[in-house]
C-alpha cells in the first residue's frame, strides 16, 4: 500500500525532531512557557469603560454611554440620525431594547442578497476589550449568524458594561468556554490602508458602526 501524504509529512517531522512527541511532553513544555506580560486589569471599572470609549472613537466608531432604562430611546435616536428604517435582528434580542417606529425583521436564514437589501443590523455582543477597542460577537442569541452582522452596511451594537474587560488576556479567558462557536472580533468599522498606507474607513464590512455602551444600574 502506498504511504499516505499524512504519514510522509508526520514521518518527516519526527525525523527532523529526532523522535515523536506525546501529550504529556507537550503539556509539560507548554506549562513552562514564560508569561510575564500583563494579563489582568490595571484600571478601575470606570477607567476601563472610559478606555473602551476612547479606543472605539479612535477607530472611527460612534459611541454613546447610557443607563439601562435609556437603551430603547438611545437606539431610536441612533437609527433616526443614520436615516435607517428597516433592520435585520438576530433571534434572541432583548425586545425591550428595540423602539417603535422602525421595522425590525428577525433573521430567518436570509440569503446574502436578502441581507444586502436591509438598511442595517442591530445586535448585542459577547464582550468588549477596552485596551484594543474591540467588540466580540459569537453565534449566540442576540448576536446571530456571522453573515447577519456583516452584509448590511450599518451595524448598531449593544455592549453591556458588565461584559467589558480591559485586556486581551481577560477576553480570551472568558471566551475559552465557548471557543467552538463562530466568533468575530471587530475593532471599528471595516477599513483598509492598502493605498499608500492611508487609512480609509469602510470597504466590505459595515461602513458605519455605532456602539451603545450600557451602564449597569
Amino acid at each position: 500500500m502506498a504511504t499516505s501524504s499524512r504519514d510522509v509529512v508526520l514521518g518527516r517531522i519526527r525525523a527532523a525532531l529526532g523522535a515523536a512527541t506525546d501529550a504529556s511532553a507537550a503539556s509539560a513544555g507548554w506549562s513552562a512557557i514564560r508569561r510575564g506580560y500583563q494579563r489582568t486589569a490595571t484600571r478601575d471599572r470606570e477607567g476601563v469603560l472610559e478606555l473602551l470609549v476612547d479606543r472605539l472613537l479612535d477607530y472611527d466608531a460612534n459611541v454613546v454611554r447610557v443607563g439601562r432604562h435609556e437603551v430603547q430611546e438611545s437606539v431610536s435616536r441612533m437609527l433616526t440620525a443614520r436615516g435607517v428604517r428597516r433592520l435585520v435582528v438576530p433571534a434572541g434580542m432583548i425586545p425591550e431594547n428595540l423602539p417603535g417606529g422602525f421595522e425590525f425583521v428577525a433573521d430567518e436564514g436570509f440569503s446574502a442578497a436578502e441581507l444586502d437589501a436591509f438598511d442595517g443590523v442591530v445586535t448585542e455582543s459577547t464582550l468588549a476589550i477596552a485596551e484594543t477597542g474591540t467588540v466580540v460577537l459569537q453565534h449566540a442569541p442576540g448576536q446571530g449568524r456571522r453573515a447577519v452582522s456583516l452584509v448590511p452596511d450599518y451595524h448598531l451594537c449593544l455592549v453591556s458594561a458588565g461584559r467589558v474587560v480591559e485586556t486581551v488576556s481577560e477576553a480570551m479567558d472568558r471566551l475559552h468556554a465557548t471557543a467552538d462557536l463562530a466568533t468575530t472580533f471587530f475593532s471599528g468599522p471595516s477599513a483598509t490602508a492598502d493605498i499608500e498606507m492611508t487609512r480609509i474607513k469602510g470597504v466590505h464590512g459595515p461602513r458605519f458602526l455605532d456602539v451603545i455602551l450600557i451602564d449597569e444600574d
Binding site: 512527541t21 506525546d22 513544555g29 446574502a112 453565534h139 467552538d180 472580533f185 492598502d194 469602510g202
Partner: protein, 484 residues
C-alpha cells in the same frame, strides 16, 4: 513588473534584480513612503505597551515550543477539526496542495472562487493552477485585487501593492473595471473595489483562504484582516477551502492572547485588526456547509530539521522586518524573486528551496539587526543569515576561488611582515584602477574577477599613501631626532 509569477527557481540573482529596481525612482519613492508610515504607526502602538518585551518573549517561546512538538499539535488539530465537521488533507509539497485544491473546487462544481489574501497560495502559485483548470479566482483583498488586475506580483507580505501609488492604482482600475471617470482619492478607489467585488461576494459559492493560526486545542482556525473581504469569503460561500503551512498551528486557544497582541501592532500598527474571525469546523446555519483544510509541508520539515534554521518557522508573517530593513526599503520586494521578500524572505526563500535556488538572498543584508529588533517573536534573522551564508559556501565547495582567497588572507593576517608586504603590493596593484575625485580622493569603481562583486554596487576608496603604523613610526623617529 510582468505578470510572470515570482519564482525563486528562475529569478535573477538579488544583486542583478536590485540594480534594475534601483533605477525605478517611482517605485523607490512609493516603498519609502509606505514603509515610513507603517513604521511610525507601529512605533506608536508598540510604545504604549509597557509589557511589549515580555509579550515578545512569550511569543517566541510559544512558537519554539510548537515547533518542538509539531507532530503532536498537528494531529491534535486534525482530530479536533474533524470532530467539528471539517475535512483535513495533507500535502507533501506545492504540487500536491494545488492538486487537492483544484479537485475540491471541481467537486464543488464551481468555476469561480473568491479568495482571501494568502501568502501561502502565492507561494504555491495557486491562481495559475486554478486558471489552468478553467477556474477563475477573484482576489478580494484590495491590495491583491490591485496586483491581480494590474498583472503584477506582490512585493510585501502584508501590503502586497505597497509599491504602487494612488495614480497607478487608479489607472489599473480605470482600465480593468471600465471606469473612465474614476477619481484618485484612496476613498474613490476603495469604493470602486467595493462595487466591483460586492456582486462576486453575493454570487460565488466557493471560497479559498490561507490561515493565520490553526488552534490545536479546539480545531479552530483564526484569520485576521481589515476590510471585511475575509469575513465575506469565510461566511457567505457554501464551500470553504483553507490552505496552511504546517507551521501555522498554535497549541491552545489561550495562546492567541499573545499572538493577537503581537501581530496587529507589528503588522499594520493597529491595536487590533479591524476584523478577526475564529471558526471551528462547520456551524450550520452559520457559514459554509463544507470546510476543508489543506496542511502543507512544502520543505518546512527541511527547515525544522536544521537546528539553526528552525527559528525561521516561528514567523507569523507581520512584515515588520521588511518595513525596517534598509535594503528592502531601497529595492522593494520584487528584487528578492520570491513572494517572501525582505529579511524574512532572505532566510525563508532559500530554505524553502532547500538551498538549491536563491543562494544570493542570504547576502542581501548588511546584518544591521533592525529586523531582529522589530520581530514580534524574536527571530534572530542576522544569525540565520550567517548560518545560511555558511551553508552556501560549504555547498559550493572548499576549493572555489573565494575559499582559496580566504585561506590566503588568513595566512597574510597571521604575520606582520607578510601583512606589510601585502599592503605595499596592494598600493602598487591598485594604481591603474584608481580615479581621483574633485577633492583629490582616490576611488576604485571596478575590480577584476571575483573582487568585482564588491564594486558592482559600490565604489571602493583607494588605499591611503601610508598606513597609520608607517605614519606613527615616522613620527617617533622625528621626535627622537628632535630630542624630545
Amino acid at each position: 513588473m510582468s505578470g510572470t509569477a515570482l519564482d525563486p527557481r528562475t529569478a535573477p540573482t538579488f544583486p542583478m534584480a536590485a540594480k534594475t529596481m534601483m533605477g525605478d525612482t517611482q517605485l523607490r519613492k512609493n516603498v519609502r513612503h509606505a514603509t515610513d508610515v507603517i513604521q511610525a504607526k507601529r512605533a506608536r502602538v508598540v510604545d504604549e505597551m509597557p509589557d511589549w518585551q515580555e509579550l515578545r518573549e512569550s511569543g517566541k517561546q510559544i512558537r519554539q515550543h510548537t515547533m518542538e512538538h509539531l507532530d503532536f499539535y498537528l494531529e491534535e488539530f486534525e482530530s479536533n477539526c474533524t470532530k467539528a465537521g471539517g475535512v483535513v488533507h495533507w500535502a507533501k509539497d506545492a504540487e500536491e496542495a494545488r492538486r487537492i485544491i483544484v479537485a475540491l473546487v471541481k467537486a464543488a462544481g464551481a468555476t469561480e472562487v473568491i479568495k482571501i489574501k494568502s501568502m501561502t497560495t502565492e507561494e504555491i502559485q495557486l491562481n495559475s493552477a486554478l486558471e489552468a483548470a478553467g477556474i477563475h479566482p477573484y482576489e478580494t483583498d484590495l491590495a491583491e485585487l490591485i496586483i491581480q488586475l494590474g498583472h503584477d506580483q506582490p512585493s510585501h507580505i502584508v501590503v502586497p501593492a505597497l509599491h504602487k501609488n494612488r495614480q497607478q492604482i487608479r489607472e489599473i482600475f480605470q482600465r480593468e473595471m471600465n471606469l473612465p471617470e474614476l477619481g484618485e482619492t484612496p476613498q474613490d478607489l476603495a469604493d470602486a473595489a467595493r462595487q466591483f467585488l460586492r456582486e462576486k461576494f453575493l454570487r460565488v459559492t466557493t471560497g479559498v483562504s490561507g490561515a493565520n493560526f490553526l488552534i490545536a486545542e479546539t480545531g479552530g482556525v483564526c484569520i485576521v484582516e481589515s476590510e471585511g473581504n475575509g469575513r465575506m469569503c469565510l461566511t457567505l460561500p457554501e464551500t470553504l477551502i483553507t490552505v496552511a503551512g504546517i507551521d501555522k498551528v498554535v497549541p491552545r486557544f489561550e495562546d492567541l492572547e499573545v499572538l493577537l497582541q503581537l501581530l496587529p501592532r507589528s503588522a499594520t500598527g493597529e491595536r487590533m485588526n479591524p476584523y478577526n474571525s475564529i471558526w471551528t469546523g462547520v456551524n450550520p446555519p452559520d457559514g459554509p456547509r463544507e470546510f476543508h483544510v489543506v496542511l502543507m509541508d512544502n520543505a518546512r520539515t527541511e527547515i525544522l530539521g536544521d537546528a539553526e534554521g528552525r527559528q525561521t518557522l516561528n514567523c507569523i508573517r507581520c512584515g515588520a522586518c521588511q518595513n525596517a530593513c534598509p535594503v528592502y526599503r531601497q529595492t522593494g520586494g520584487h528584487a528578492y524573486g520570491s513572494v517572501y521578500a525582505g529579511p524574512i524572505g532572505a532566510i525563508l526563500t532559500p530554505q524553502l528551496q532547500e538551498m538549491h535556488h536563491a543562494q544570493s538572498l542570504p547576502y542581501a543584508s548588511s546584518l544591521c539587526g533592525a529586523c531582529y529588533e522589530v520581530c514580534p517573536v524574536k527571530i534572530n534573522i542576522p544569525e540565520v543569515l550567517i548560518h545560511l551564508r555558511n551553508k552556501v559556501v560549504k555547498q559550493n565547495g572548499m576549493l572555489n576561488a573565494e575559499a582559496l582567497a580566504m585561506r590566503a588572507m588568513g595566512m597574510i593576517f597571521r604575520s606582520e611582515s607578510r601583512f606589510r608586504a601585502a599592503q605595499r603590493m596592494g598600493r602598487m596593484a591598485e594604481a591603474p584602477l584608481v580615479r581621483k575625485d574633485g577633492r583629490g580622493e582616490g576611488w576604485i569603481g571596478w575590480l577584476p574577477g571575483l573582487l568585482g562583486g564588491w564594486t558592482q554596487v559600490r565604489d571602493l576608496q583607494a588605499m591611503p599613501e601610508e598606513t597609520f603604523r608607517e605614519w606613527w613610526e615616522k613620527r617617533e623617529s622625528k621626535e627622537v631626532a628632535s630630542g624630545n
